[in-house]
Symmetry: C2
């Protein structure tokens, strides 16, 4: 919001707020049924006391513009302004409720919302702290980039040829031999999953996954009507898959390197065994490898590197390593798959940002990216040790965890099932934001996905203290 | 494709091509059922004679690796390599055919494909010629941009606050009064349509449109199961809409400024009449205004500017004016709509490129964008006159058209129904690419969407000559 009350106006602050809210309703910005921001949020935005906001809202309620719904907040009333002025407004709320795509879980919407606020301590955020981003280097690169007018027009369906050639070379290091025409540039790994969902699977197909799973916190497959089946990778894997798959189309989604949220890292043997089972059963694999570069020790080869039958759809991204704001990722897959996904991408958004692609191409080909990675891994390792030290000192009696092998996360398990939505909300009130385990596995009330990548050392320390306090209460 | 045969190898060119294709099949890149590129394309890519390619392909056919399907091309055979080596490969073709999203029309796939080739003359392309893009200015801006580390992380759901504030100010000039929280940044106008389709409409909703329509050349609504109904805006509009809508959810999609493909521009009266009818019937409007800045004379106010009931979803973009490679557009709409679309956008791709957003923000706020627009309109006007002159001299007897009022297009109508797929394909053989009218209205065989924005003057001249020749045959 842009508006703030004017302290030098002849109107009181409360009157100004009332007028402003009325004008939002009048203009149709806040249509019937809109949930308005909380008093707390408005007070913060307007930089005024919460009691002033409350008085303004009470006045608007009394006049019939707003109404409270028990336990859920304040809404623009049905019989408000519009009725008075005999206006008809579309009932957007009804449109929204009957439409196709699932809303995000409420907890995740809250996370997205509160992440925007400066004073909040983010203990779970799956991204690099601003201070770990190579902002200055990227700024330097921007100065060196010379643009080709042809490259900043509408893109070819698969994305920049230059970037795809550079990636072919880059991916060799993880054992992947491929060609530019077997690569599709996407706007982040998440978009790759979205394209696969609508472009390669019939409704009702099975998507196998392990539990907990990142896929439960977003829902590209669920929103397209796929059936998610969670299984564990034990020695009965082949039998389990055979029994569950029957004659249905299926895919197996996995994160073999530094799994989100557990941080688990598959050994070579586990990778080979898994590949062979899926190959035998003709179950294609989505290998989501966005954390590949962040293993503290050198990473085992990608599953894709064993793939001689076009079984693996391989996904990478620079979101976790360079900058999520670039929105650049890639898929490596057999030609018909790439052509199909590229066709749908063209229908969806006509390609990814040419500028972002140019920046990534420059970063990788100049070697700056790899230099940055070496430093980044060190910094992450220091941060991991810092948090592990705090855990060791203060959480040992109530929780367990595994030492981090890389990436961002520690999958902290409390002995007791204390991690529920109430805890999440109580922490927000104390300006601490966590990623509770139930986002990744609905019935899990034991885990928190701790991230040592985002918050500052002081914040990590303070946030963990507040967490501990609330849990011990 | 990256590979080229080596002229100094001990193997013949033909042998090298055979080996290369075999290795593609072996690695699973070209899986069973993959349609391989045409001989013509391969010859061009490899920079060899077509007859050499043909010999290589004949050899692979004889050995059972490839097979021809009558009139459709050459495919990786079922009983190939894989069978020989007893490998199982996923049948991706089957996956693709049964999946959810519609493929692009074949003609549009061909357009996307041939647009990538350098020697082709593009008579229909809906984008600015590389020489009209302010590439140097953007390069200069890149040097001046100072990045904020916080801005290049994962984005807030609605996109950069800075850009949204700048847009609020920018949109005032077209009569639109709005707030940053009523704006969503999207990856181009096309993505806005996609988000609206899955986020605001129940399956089977009606999307009204005029004919011909840009929406027939992409299908965000069709792929989500909406029913497209085409109607004309005459004085019976209200009755027609009332009869057709019944109790169904519906939206009206329109392009009131420089319509694609006709170039038609609605007067103020038409805009007001249309708005009032839709308001009375409670039919929300999607106002797609991506050509707004390109009207040669000053544009009439946006329909959104009359909107006091939250009835209009307003869409803009910099693709047609600054650079399509930025992939930046916006939606202005009531709060619940924006929140809903932002939520789905987060689930789809976690936001648009922060770098692109920064570039657009810099361009608009520095005034460079408006400066560029003044020059651009002049250049487009000169190009329009150039093409109109050619039409006047050579096409007068066989076709009609209206003088362009701005934008990119002339909607050229041939007296006879000559614009069929055969003509499209014959023109490709002569290296000329057109956008035939049937992309925008299936049964239309009279029109071509000529674009004077892309090809050079020489190309426009030559391309139109070839077109004339073929049509007169
Ligand atoms: C396993 C995994 N896959 C994909 C993504 C999405 O990454 P991107 O920003 O490239 O879309 C994430 C980030 O949260 C992730 O953890
Ligand atoms: C009317 C119309 N709307 C939307 C688009 C898509 O624009 P963008 O590149 O912003 O997605 C186009 C471009 O072809 C168009 O002509």
């Amino acid at each position: 919001m842009d508006w703030k009350p004017n302290r030098h106006s002849h109107l009181t602050i409360q009157e100004q707020i009332v007028d402003w809210i009325k004008s939002r309703i009048e203009q149709g910005d806040w249509s019937v049924g809109t949930k308005i921001p909380t008093q707390r949020q408005l007070a913060m935005e307007f930089n005024v006391n919460r009691s002033t906001v409350q008085l303004a809202i009470d006045e608007l309620k009394a006049d019939g513009f707003l109404e409270s719904k028990m336990g859920s907040g304040v809404y623009v009333a049905n019989n408000s302004w519009n009725a008075l002025l005999n206006r008809s407004q579309p009932n957007w709320q009804q449109h929204i409720e009957s439409s196709i795509h699932k809303p995000n879980y409420h907890t995740i919407q809250l996370i997205n919302e509160y992440e925007q606020m400066d004073q909040i301590i983010r203990l779970g955020t799956g991204e690099l702290s601003p201070e770990l981003l190579p902002t200055k280097q990227i700024e330097q690169s921007l100065k060196k980039i010379s643009l080709d007018s042809k490259e900043i027009g509408y893109s070819s369906p698969q994305g920049s040829g230059k970037l795809r050639r550079i990636l072919c070379n880059y991916l060799k290091k993880r054992g992947i031999q491929t060609n530019p025409e077997n690569i599709l540039i996407v706007s982040g790994a998440l978009q790759a999953l979205q394209l696969i969902a609508v472009g390669l699977l019939e409704e009702g197909s099975i998507v196998f996954q392990e539990l907990p799973s990142y896929l439960n916190s977003v829902h590209p497959f669920q929103s397209s009507g796929m059936q998610m089946i969670s299984i564990s990778r034990d020695k009965h894997l082949a039998d389990t898959l055979r029994t569950l798959k029957r004659n249905r189309q299926s895919l197996f989604y996995c994160v073999p390197t530094l799994h989100n949220p557990t941080g688990y890292n598959w050994s070579i043997e586990e990778r080979k065994y898994f590949y062979n089972v899926c190959k035998e059963l003709n179950i294609p694999i989505i290998e989501d490898d966005v954390y590949h570069e962040l293993l503290f020790e050198s990473p085992p080869p990608a599953i894709k590197s064993f793939d001689i039958s076009g079984q693996v759809l391989y996904i990478g991204s620079v979101s976790k390593t360079l900058s999520p704001g670039l929105r650049i990722g890639w898929v490596v897959a057999p030609t018909p798959v790439i052509r199909r996904l590229a066709d749908i991408k063209m229908q969806t958004d006509y390609g990814s940002s040419a500028f972002s692609q140019e920046i990534v191409a420059h970063g990788i080909s100049s070697g700056l990216y790899e230099k940055h990675l070496i430093k980044l891994r060190k910094q992450l390792k220091t941060r991991a040790s810092f948090v592990e030290e705090i855990l060791e000192q203060r959480f040992k009696k109530i929780a367990t965890w595994k030492k981090s092998e890389g990436g961002f996360y520690i999958w902290l398990r409390f002995h007791k099932p204390v991690v529920n939505k109430a805890l999440f909300l109580k922490l927000i009130k104390k300006n601490v934001l966590i990623n509770p385990g139930y986002i990744y596995e609905t019935r899990d009330l034991h885990h928190i996905r701790l991230s040592y990548a985002y918050a500052s050392f002081e914040e990590l320390n303070e946030g963990l203290n507040i967490l501990l306090e609330l849990i011990q209460q």
